[in-house]
Assembly symmetry: C2
Homo-oligomer: 258 residues x 2
Amino acid sequence: MSSRPIPHSRIFVTGFARGLSVIEAFGAGHKSLSVADAAQRTGLDRAVVRRLLLTLAGLGYARIDGKQFELTGKVLRLGYSYLAASALDVTLQPYLAELSAEIGEAVSVSVLDGNDVVFVARSEQPGNRVAFVVSMGMRLPAYASASGRVLMSALADSEVSARLRGTRRDKRTPATVVGERELVKLVRQARSDGHAVSWEELEEGLVGIAVPLGNRGGTMVASLNTNTNAVRAQARQRVQRMLPRLKAMARRVAEVLP
Amino acid sequence: MSSRPIPHSRIFVTGFARGLSVIEAFGAGHKSLSVADAAQRTGLDRAVVRRLLLTLAGLGYARIDGKQFELTGKVLRLGYSYLAASALDVTLQPYLAELSAEIGEAVSVSVLDGNDVVFVARSEQPGNRVAFVVSMGMRLPAYASASGRVLMSALADSEVSARLRGTRRDKRTPATVVGERELVKLVRQARSDGHAVSWEELEEGLVGIAVPLGNRGGTMVASLNTNTNAVRAQARQRVQRMLPRLKAMARRVAEVLP
DNA sequence: CCCTTTTGTGCGCTCTGCGCTCAAATGAGC
DNA sequence: GCTCATTTGAGCGCAGAGCGCACAAAAGGG
């Protein structure tokens, strides 16, 4: 006679949904959780959480240490399913490497998840020539990053406003734009320019440059971005030199994206 | 009268386990799956898979496009739970940046998952000074990488043998060691040396260097690694110069790891 | 040492979700 | 365009999975 949150839609596997929420209950500052901790964080009954955690442990996604549960590296496979699936990572790597070498800065590819930009591929050019892929997972707030504005430019203005309204917008640096109307205008700008540049809005000294990555059909699937340093001399000219190269690469990549 | 794989252990949430296997059914070359595809790949009944996929979609982890399902960026949150939780990423970042600057090469931290080494943190030093974290997810075969050997050195020899036997060991370069006995010996070597070096075993021209990262209690929690180029002159001396710095940093880091 | 609070777990009952089934859609062949 | 074959979507009755109560066992607190 207690909780009846979902009226059993008959096509919804409650146990699965609850399990996923348990995985997400881990996170910053919650490396290990006891059954009771996890129950509190998810709002589920302790017995339920216990079964779910033991299931995770049984499958190797978690480890039991006394009464504390910890996720194992295996959970990365779940996220990896997405990355490997959206062949972005693998398909794009040679292009990213080439572009990175050309412009002398690390380049990356990101997609939109809610109000965050999520990085899914990256290539760096660290003086040393051994190409080494490390990708995935990092999140940035969409409103304050060039890539976020490019990605949001694929949405309708009303949707952009709605998302902005639903996000905490911190003034991360003095230059960060946080006003909803202003941001919508910047997204519109990105739409018509076919690129976005963010000057020290995310971090002092950091300039973000992003262009949309479309497929042959012309639908935007991701954003191609790079950064440069605002404090070095001639940052402006540098950005102006980089932009056409990013766009040229985006055009080439469009041919190979499904 | 069909499948009865698990006799209901009473603490195992089947729906959850099956759901996770559905997520993993996506992956390289399987960006989008129909209900039937996913059913075949997981070996589950179509009706079951359909419910699970619809559940994923309902929660925003998947998107429906006609009869094809696709994972969304939200699944990265699941893996991210692990990364954020194992504060490795955040805690280590300043140390990694310092080390990377000191030795002039990208450095990274990895953990063991089964037979793979998984990267969980990284810092690069790409000429530009803007520190930018991109981490997570990349996998390498443990047997052929320095970090893998260091990480396996925390296991008992018998366990190492067992894992090696259960892995396909390709000769990725002429230098790759693939013999089980030889590899066990190398792991033992890593254990007594407190480090491992892999000369062009993973990729031609690439030298991997790894040391264990322990916590105060002395239990190994990860591996700290870097790479250098085998073809540049004096690679050997360079490795000899880098090793003590890696070890010194590992000692410092041990103080801050839980 | 007793009492309070927190945590772990057994177990009966109900409601979930399984997987049979059939219907609808798709498409192949003529 | 019609028929047949095949694939996909859903309804529904039944059984047993898993819910959550309630008790037990630790873990403090005074």
